[in-house]
């Protein structure tokens, strides 16, 4: 694999369906980082990821993986990636031993020792049928398989959804371990933002098929804030300074985009940190009537 700076580059990705359009999606995932892809159900995360993986053919736009057009030499770059989905994509009657044998002949870099190592670590049985695995076990199995052929890019579509906090925690630790090698990159889509809050390097927000925001997580969290004030004061706030406001009987809360500036401008106002959840909610509710 030749040198590359960004594991994934997407430019103007567009795909039209009845009732939903992925419109001009663009973002970059630098090598060695972990990108959190955040959005509601149906916002377009899966469509985007499926486009990257070639499961869906987009109408227009450019996608580059490892610096090369994703539509060329698919069987070459797919040697070095792993996809993890929210549902186990294997037949119920298969077991880990069979999977091991199968994938050995599919991936050039497959290592049975590594795979068995992960199975031991996750305490997954080698000969039990997948149909009898719990949800957590199924996810850990996918990850064990994903990490056993030297993949340089991990793409996960809602992989941690539906898992209990303890298992999610274990899995996040595995990801951090994976990232210790600078050549490895992770793209992770989720609507559970607490996971990404901690470990993501960059985040991209998507809503209704459009990208709302993309950038370094630290910057985004540092620059956004929730300004809390009285209903009366709320009217005095410049519309350009905030994304949306939630007005209640007892006051108003607004998401501001430049925390430092607002602190100076509206001195005395309470400005709290915004979480990724807050950011997503306020951006998405921009268009709702109850919010202004």
């Amino acid at each position: 694999m030749s040198e590359y700076e960004n594991a994934i580059e997407i430019n103007g990705l567009t795909k039209r369906y009845d009732g939903f359009t992925l419109d001009g999606v663009s973002f970059t995932v630098p090598k060695g980082s972990i990108m959190g892809f955040i959005g509601q159900n149906g916002a377009g995360k899966s469509t985007t990821i499926n486009s990257i993986l070639g499961i869906i053919r987009p109408d227009s736009g450019e996608i580059r993986v490892f610096g090369q057009d994703s539509r060329e030499n698919e069987t070459v770059w797919k040697e070095n990636i792993s996809a993890v989905f929210d549902e186990l994509p294997f037949h119920e009657n298969l077991n880990a031993k069979m999977l091991d044998r199968m994938l050995r002949h599919i991936f050039k870099g497959w290592s049975s020792e590594t795979f068995k190592g992960y199975l031991d670590r996750f305490q997954l049985p080698y000969k039990k049928k997948f149909g009898q695995f719990s949800k957590g076990m199924k996810m850990k199995l996918q990850i064990a398989a994903a990490l056993s052929h030297g993949a340089k890019l991990l793409i996960m579509d809602e992989a941690t959804t539906g898992l209990d906090p303890v298992v999610r925690n274990e899995i996040l630790d595995i990801f951090l371990e994976y990232l210790q090698d600078e050549e490895n990159t992770i793209l992770m889509s989720s609507h559970i933002t607490s996971d990404l809050e901690k470990i993501a390097d960059s985040v991209t927000f998507i809503d209704k098929g459009r990208i709302l925001l993309t950038g370094y997580k630290d910057d985004i969290l540092a620059s956004h804030g929730i300004l809390k004030c009285t209903k009366a004061d709320c009217a005095a706030i410049d519309r350009a300074d905030y994304i949306s406001a939630r007005v209640t009987d007892v006051g108003a809360e607004l998401l501001v985009t430049d925390r430092a500036a607002c602190k100076r401008k509206y001195s005395g106002a309470v400005i709290d940190s915004a979480t990724l959840d807050d950011i997503m909610v306020y951006y998405v509710n921009r268009e709702k009537k109850e919010w202004s």
């Binding site: 390097d201 960059s202 370094y216 630290d218």
Partner: protein
């Protein structure tokens, strides 16, 4: 080396890391030539983004506290007495500014302040 991050603190995380490492260097806990954990290892331990640790290390390097060599890692730099003194001066100044502000709000005069200073400093 121990680093403790507070999520509820006003200071951004990378600043917390910077000040804690600085403090440990100046107090001698971290000696010249000591190796710091890699940016990624630190990020993993603290469960934060590697971008944050990278920023922290970059700032420490800019201020002359550590030196990073690609492939080898980051090490504590020998401390120039002047620099250390300078750093302490900066911090003392900041604290005194805070003290003065409070004094002004509380209506404490500058003479009372001088007295207080003599008492506290002399007593140490």
């Amino acid at each position: 080396m121990d680093i403790i991050i507070s999520n509820s603190s006003e200071a951004p995380i990378y600043e917390q890391i910077v000040s804690q490492i600085k403090a440990q260097i100046m107090s001698g806990q971290l000696a010249e030539g000591d190796a710091l954990p890699s940016m990624r290892a630190l990020a993993q331990s603290l469960r934060i983004s590697v971008i944050t640790t990278k920023r922290a290390y970059e700032e420490l390097e800019r201020e002359g506290f550590i030196v990073s060599q690609t492939g080898k890692g980051s090490f504590v730099k020998g401390q120039n007495r002047e620099l250390v003194r300078e750093e302490f001066l900066k911090q003392t100044e900041a604290l005194l500014t805070e003290a003065c502000e409070k004094a002004q709000i509380g209506g404490i005069t500058i003479e009372e302040l001088h007295e207080l200073l003599d008492l506290i400093y002399g007593g140490e």
